[in-house]
């Protein structure tokens, strides 16, 4: 019998979050969201305003909570991976990769070189796609509509490459424990090369539109400041922290999937404002292109997934010839595979920051506990103090600059 605790909550419980002036009516309490175009999803902010200045900003999340962690506990390791796509829907490949690396760490599966390289290409393509959505929406929030249209045009190209390989534009589930779902088609290499060739000019175009545009600069410079110490204390990661001078990138610090073989820079800015984060992400797109170029040039031939039949299903062609293959196929797709007992914490660098998955196994075919440490969850918490003292019109610039995805936050 589950223990049920009766909780009575009234609005009185929120009183300690606002100042006394708000209760007396001297300041204004304003509700922003959950249906507001500039909150990038279903985020609700309770704002206490003194004129146009924000005194208190109280984020309210959970509108997109879908219980993914609970659901994953009742599915086999293979089934549970499908849910990882739905977490951060702008970084589906990255979520797949984090989950697969965690499973591979627990089961000690080896991944062939070709699969590693294709993974890197896709994760970096996904990073560019995610940054394009960020750039488009950030500019749109600041009333630069044309940038949005250009960004989504280029993003469409990346989604086409994903569809080419996985059959899906967004919910790919392409990276699997032990390798990939299937090998990339022959057209893949040329498509990636074309993209790498034409994208730098496009990034230059966005920069021409924004980087030195005085209207844009007025809206982003000196807004939403965060020092290095604050960023670390509040657990900010990724490009949001790098805009404040935190020199940390998981791809360099704890390389995974062979990132140590690629030559790339980690852009750092020290101003810690919206503009600094903008510059960091623009440069990150260029560095991602560098990685993709090196990866596609070295893309080795060979198997695209591990040959360990206890965890990875046999190829379809073997099913008509080998009894062993049929047994493995049946066992893997019905009851799944047992994963050794233990708990690991695997981190990858998502476009937003540190994406961590804590995977605990009890030795059975289903994960005992999966915890997603998502960057957006930590970053929305920053809003509760970063926005204080700013103009209410600048709040949309700040929300855009910390690059949140609500599916990532609420899980």
């Amino acid at each position: 019998m589950p223990m049920i605790e009766k909780v009575d909550v009234t609005l009185d419980e929120l009183k300690h979050l606002v100042t006394n002036q708000a209760l007396e009516g001297d300041t204004l309490l304003l509700n922003m969201g959950p249906q507001h175009p500039s909150t990038h999803g279903v985020l609700r902010l309770l704002l206490e305003l003194d004129g146009e200045i924000i005194i208190n900003c109280i984020p309210d999340i959970g509108f997109l909570h879908t219980g993914i962690e609970k659901n994953m506990e009742s599915k086999t390791y293979a089934q549970a991976e499908v849910m990882t796509d739905r977490l951060d829907y702008l970084n589906t490949m990255g979520n797949n990769l984090a989950y697969c690396l965690a499973v591979e760490k627990l089961t000690e599966l080896d991944v062939p070189e070709r699969a590693q390289t294709v993974r890197v290409i896709f994760v970096e393509l996904q990073r560019i796609a995610s940054h394009l959505v960020w750039l488009g929406t950030q500019a749109l929030d600041l009333a630069a509509q044309s940038v949005f249209l250009y960004c989504f045009r280029e993003r469409e190209y990346i989604l086409d490459i994903m569809e080419l390989c996985s059959g899906q534009r967004m919910m790919t589930t392409y990276i699997r424990p032990g390798g990939l779902w299937r090998d990339v088609p022959v057209e893949f290499e040329q498509a990636v090369r074309d993209f790498v060739a034409y994208m730098p000019k496009r990034i230059q175009q966005y920069e021409d539109l924004l980087t030195k545009n005085p209207i844009f600069l007025d809206r982003v410079r000196g807004i939403g400041k965060m020092t290095k110490e604050e960023a670390m204390a509040w657990g900010a990661t990724g490009s949001t922290a790098r805009g404040s001078g935190v020199n940390y990138d998981i791809r360099k610090a704890i390389p995974y999937s062979g990132y140590e073989q690629y030559d790339f820079d980690v852009p750092i800015q020290t101003d810690g404002d919206v503009y600094a984060r903008y510059l960091v992400r623009i440069e990150e797109m260029r560095q991602s292109l560098r990685i993709i170029e090196q990866a596609v040039n070295k893309l080795p031939m060979g198997p695209f997934r591990s040959n360990n039949r206890k965890f990875v299903p046999p190829p379809r062609s073997e099913l008509s010839r080998s009894m062993e293959a049929v047994i493995h196929h049946f066992k893997l797709w019905t009851e799944g595979y047992d994963v050794p007992k233990g708990s690991v914490y695997q981190v990858v660098e998502s476009p937003r920051g540190e994406l961590g998955v804590m995977l605990e196994s009890d030795g059975g075919p289903r994960p005992y506990r999966v915890k997603w440490r998502t960057p957006s969850f930590t970053h929305i918490q920053l809003l509760s103090w970063i926005a204080n003292g700013q103009f209410v019109a600048d709040l949309v610039a700040i929300i855009g600059s910390i690059d949140i995805v609500l599916g990532d936050t609420d899980r």
């Binding site: 959970g62 219980g67 760490k105 610090a253 540190e354 961590g356 915890k371 609420d410």
Partner: protein
């Protein structure tokens, strides 16, 4: 455990705070008693360079009651590039833990999530409310004795019957 800085941190946790370290797949996990966790985290931050606490979460081992929960803290040192995991066992159905908010401010929301999902209270927390679930929700969803739940399919013949059982918003 080749890293010198990590070795030092683990030695201090074992000697001063009664920790019990083990290594699994190259990651260090230290089991600590609940009353030592804040002191241990402060020591890690001030003396061993762990500036960031990325995550707090819990694991429910129901029906086992002693300990029923493990609260899992992750620590990251950017300057030394090392990571460590602390695990705190907690007994019983209404577990309490000292809050970490004055050591790492981002613990605020993480501990709210801990309360929301597992019913683990953080003592001294400034603002312990539900965070992901609706504020009038009953129970703590990520506990193992909390059912997964499903929605019944409404057909014409049982439409009204199911409709009556559906949860309604409070007045």
């Amino acid at each position: 455990m080749e890293n010198e800085a990590l070795k030092k941190a683990v030695q201090e946790l074992e000697a001063k705070f009664g920790g019990e370290a083990k290594e699994f797949r190259g990651q260090i996990q230290v089991l600590l008693p609940a009353d030592q966790i804040v002191a241990a985290a402060t020591a890690l931050r001030d003396r061993h360079g762990f500036e960031v606490m990325p995550d707090i979460t819990a694991v429910d081992y129901y029906p086992q009651l002693t300990p029923r929960f493990h609260v899992v803290y992750q620590f990251n040192s950017i300057s030394k590039n090392i990571r460590i995991t602390l695990r705190v066992p907690l007994d019983g159905n209404q577990p309490v833990l000292p809050t970490m908010t004055h050591v790492f401010p981002n613990a605020n929301w993480l501990e709210r999530e801990l309360w929301d999902m597992f019913g683990i209270k953080s003592e001294g927390h400034p603002d312990l409310r539900r965070i992901l679930m609706p504020f009038d929700w009953e129970g703590h969803p990520l506990r193992k004795d909390y059912p997964l739940g499903y929605e019944e399919v409404q057909f014409t013949f049982n439409y009204d019957e199911i409709d009556q059982r559906k949860p309604r918003p409070k007045e």
